[in-house]
Amino acid sequence: MNIVEKQAEIVTEFALFDDWMQRYEYMIELGKSLPLIAPTYKTDDHIIKGCQSKVWVHAELENDKIIFTADSDAIITKGIIAILIRVFSNQHPKDILAADTAFIDEIGLKEHLSPTRANGLVSMIKQLKMYALAYQTQLS
């Protein structure tokens, strides 16, 4: 599946829920399935700034595609990064760079999109795209 298809899939899943409780419960569920970062990468230079909780992200290139792994000490944050990784992992750097993230709004997480500092979603997306940019440069 490409990025757009994955986003559509997630939007469909979230559309099943009637209220925020179900959405958050599902997000917490997703957090538990997050492909965990190797402990050796859980260092300060893998931390994403701008979150009230700690988020570590690591990226590796496999067959010209980026594989993301991550972790967080907060479970909702873990759910959010899990959603992002489900969309962006195993994709070409250039596709990651080109992707838009309007689906976040559609799944009812709009409040996390504000560029303020309490939540880290904007910083997370930025960081994932930074990795993509780095690998993209390396590839071309």
């Binding site: 925020w20 409780m21 958050y24 009230q52 909780s53 907060a74 479970i75 909702i76």
Partner: protein
Amino acid sequence: MYSTTLHLEKIRADFPILHRKVNGQALIYLDNAATSQTPLSVIDAISDYYKNTNANIHRGVHALSQEATDLFEAARKKIQTHFNATHAHEIILTSGTTHSINLVANGFASLLNEGDELIVSALEHHANIVPWQMLCERTKAKLNVIPMTENGTLDMEAFDAMVNSKTKVVFVNHVSNALGVINPIEHIIKKAHAVGAAVLIDGAQATPHLIPDMQALDVDFYTTSAHKICGPTGIGMLYGKEEWLRKLPPYQGGGEMIDQVTFEKTTYADLPHKFEAGTPNIAGGVGFGAAIAYMNSIGFDAIKAHENDLLHHATKKLSEIEGLRIYGNVPNKVAVISFNVTGLHPYDIGTLLDKMGIAVRTGHHCCQPIMDFYQIPGTVRASFAFYNTHEEVERFVSGLEKAISMLR
């Protein structure tokens, strides 16, 4: 189940924001330690100022300027009376607690020598740490820290042992914003004065709950922010004893704070103007005065009684939740409850409470040293004001239980 000491329905009608919805739910505002809400009388005082009297103050001969000056100075007078300062010119109107503390710390730069010692407490807000660290860098004075104990109080034996003839300034908050614990400032002031040290008390978290008496405390500097006591943002006060304010050099340079300016030599104006460079936050000052008047119209005895009710009610209920730990759960505290639940991150709890319309603060509360002490990333802090109700406490507790069950 409204409290008997306060007419809560009437009081809540004074605060438009308390009637709004958040995420589809009636707002329960329990983030009062971060900033308090603003009653109509304060909002109106500010609007009225701009609609009727707005002018730059001091030195203007025209009527508007005189009226605006009178309003601003009347606010200073109200603040003086409220805190029982000896003189109105001992009340410096600043942009807030942070500004006040920086003003004092900067002033001591010229009064300290290498080897002098300063004493801070482990319970301080960053605003009462960082300016002094900057001062120590500039002067090579040494910063000693009163350690805290597991229950969130200060280790006063350690403090007593720390004070000596090299001690020049002691700065401690009256009430810890992260924990709500009331510190023994009377003892600290006496002890510091015995060796000739000055004492600055950060009262940002005390003034919403009690009235500190400047003369009875015999404190050298005391500071707070209007936005913590139903007043507007961008204004606060620094009380300073006249003799100390005369000793300290001015902080910012500009209009109002000068007597004569030539390029060769500038002389400074008298108190309080020496420390009030530039156009002040005039509307803010007027709003600050209105806030003091509002709080007194409710009455601090009634405020204290009601808040204690809320505190005890909430503490009791929370204590029944498994794995919940309250930090600083001591008898001598204000209506602030800082807690964690085993295995859960404060951010997760705060986020879910917010979805239920309940506003609490999560994180380090600008007190990283306290978090380091407990080795935690932060806490959930519910802080109450006199306009909160027992029903809100109930909804908060059941909301918390729901959040916990979702997260576990």
